[in-house]
Amino acid sequence: MTLKSKKEEAGGKKKKGLRSFLSNKLPPYIMVAPAIIFFLLFTVYPIVDMIILSFYEWNVIQPRKWVGLWNYKYLFDIQIDFKIALQNTIVYTVSEVFFLILFALIFSVWLQKDSKVNAVLQRIMFFPHLCAMLAVSVMFSWLMDENGLFNMVLSFFHLPGLRWLNSSSTAMMSVVIVSVWKSIGYQTLILLSALKTIPADIYEAAALDNTGPVRKFFCITIPLLSPQLFFMLITITMSSFKVFDSVRMLTKGGPGKSTVVLVYYIWSYAQSNLKYGVAAAAGVVLLVILLILTFFYFRILDKKVHYQ
């Protein structure tokens, strides 16, 4: 073979390579490109910028000034309001997790049977989840008014009225009540569909073994639901750490600082105090918490896949 023909052959191969690259390798990149650009702009860049900003002092008007870890010191050492916010968020999260899982378990087992009434009730309970938080908060601010329906019911049973959202001792509890009410239908729904995946023959075998309903619940339902319950634990925790809307609408963080949560803290430092560095540092703390939770989330997700 002459040198020339060898060269030609090599050229031919290259051309072929390009053609097959264009038809076999390129399309997926073109298809994901728009989405990736959106995510880079609106997820990656903001997060990176937030982490950088957390080491600076900045109030928009003056240029950014490097302050090292001062913002973090401000959060944990200098002021106590961040610790209060963190504490409030934890209280809120723990109550959400506890009540949502408890009620979701009760309701899902109770409404498990396929019947018309159950289907209708499931839908009624689910609807608030889709409904705007704003409308829900308006309804509950009226219900929880000092002359509102809740106190009327309490006085009917000769119980003293509560100040609900207007007292620092009950405000957090009231916010929890509202959000549990709003999303219990959704959580119930998830558990109901998880229950459907438990094979009927297990229950049939239990029935033949003369298993009582309580035993059935604790020895069969709960263990078989445990991956799902753990999953719920993580997702509820994650969404609770992000809570903002209900707090803003119902209490605006008050009375005092009794319902200031993490995101509310970040928002108010950015919006009203114009201390963007501090807001960013608080954001980083929330990000770390969410990352840890995400890690567990995927661990369980993997396990579940292996399980099947």
Binding site: K16, R19, S20, S23, N24
Partner: protein, 357 residues
């Protein structure tokens, strides 16, 4: 025209080498059947020809033109899939029309082609139906019509009959043969069913572990197998293979063996005695499993197929096979043909004779 030439085809799935340096020529207008057990690489080969599962390396020619990097839709090849791959969201007509539209065939021409094809496969009344309202056989026809309407140079079929019930399968088999006669284009048909392969093919390509074991007409493959694998793959029950004292193998087909309780079979090259173990009545034939005393002194079961059904279980019988129906294979299980290796052939024959005396 539809001649396919595959040169030096390799295909790896990750670390696993499915095909290695495979060469194959499929002549224009033949009904070629790729047959082999599952995992032998026959479907992989078909997908390489179609272009939907490109080869790792190697070249494919269609009518002497290289098409290795031509997009599947531009190869002028049609394929019928195992599960038909009918687009569930389109009507029967939409399914047939889809490819034509992609190739920018004008509307009037499309209508003409569709009605012509629908007529020829008997789908005219069903054109407006959705696939979900079709039976298995009707879906099969839609898949065929969709392939035919493109007037391709090559039809590829990947076990198209495996999802049909037995009766329909036999009917579709003969319809496909007729179709091939009518269209006179190249058919490449993949199946694991040797009966299907024997009944439909002009040419059978028998594959195992990514290697072509033998290719030829059904008759050739049946009568003149080149190795133990081919000999045992084609024909039911499989050919009896027995070891000879010299390490070679001897084989005979169950339907070629002679068996009776009394006849001496003087003129047969292979003669032995045995005892009937079981008897299966198949209708026109009866299948016997017989324990025979083999040349090396051991006893081995062999299958014998006969039209007579007079011999009862547990009876002692004589079994014999004439020389023309005996096959010899060497230690590597390759065929020893009399005309190619007369020395080895004679040696094997001698093994049989020695024992008899």
């Amino acid at each position: 025209m539809g001649k396919i030439v595959l040169k030096n085809i390799c295909k790896n799935f990750g670390e696993v080498k499915v095909l290695e340096n495979l060469d194959l020529t499929i002549e224009d207008g033949t009904f070629t059947v790729l047959v082999g057990s599952s995992g032998c690489g026959k479907t992989t080969l078909l997908r390489i020809i179609a272009g939907i599962g490109p080869a790792t390396s190697g070249e494919i020619y269609l009518n002497d033109e290289e098409i290795s990097d031509v997009a599947p839709g531009r190869r002028n090849i049609a394929m019928v899939f195992q599960n038909y791959a009918i687009y569930p969201n389109m009507t029967v007509k939409g399914n047939i029309e889809f490819g034509l539209k992609n190739n920018h065939v004008p509307k009037a021409e499309r209508e003409r082609l569709i009605s012509e094809i629908a007529e020829s496969v008997g789908l005219t009344e069903l054109l407006k139906r959705k696939p979900s309202a079709l039976s298995g056989g009707q879906r099969q026809r839609v898949a065929l019509a969709r392939a035919m309407v493109k007037k391709p140079e090559v039809f590829l079929m990947d076990e198209p009959l495996s999802n049909l019930d037995a009766k329909l399968r036999i009917q579709m088999r003969s319809e496909l043969i007729e179709l091939h006669k009518r269209l006179k284009t190249t058919f490449v048909y993949v199946t694991h069913d040797q009966v299907e392969a024997m009944s439909m093919a002009d040419k059978i390509v028998l594959m195992e572990k990514g290697v072509i074991q033998q290719q030829g007409s059904p008759e050739e493959i049946y009568r003149n197998p080149s190795n133990v694998f081919t000999a045992q793959f084609i024909g039911t029950p499989a050919m009896n293979i027995l070891k000879l004292p010299n390490g070679c193998h001897m084989g005979f087909r169950p339907e070629k063996a002679l068996m009776s309780e009394t006849a001496p079979y003087e003129n047969c090259a292979y003669r032995t005695q045995g005892q009937v173990l079981t008897r299966e009545m198949l209708g026109s034939e009866t299948l016997y499993k017989v324990m025979v005393a083999h040349v090396d002194g051991s006893s081995q079961p062999v299958m014998v197929k006969m039209t007579e059904e007079t011999i009862a279980e547990d009876r002692s019988v004589r079994i014999a096979v004439p020389e023309k129906d005996l096959y010899f294979f060497d230690r590597e299980e390759a065929r020893i043909r009399k005309e190619e290796k007369p020395g080895q052939y004679e040696e094997c024959l001698r093994c049989l004779r020695e024992v008899r005396t």
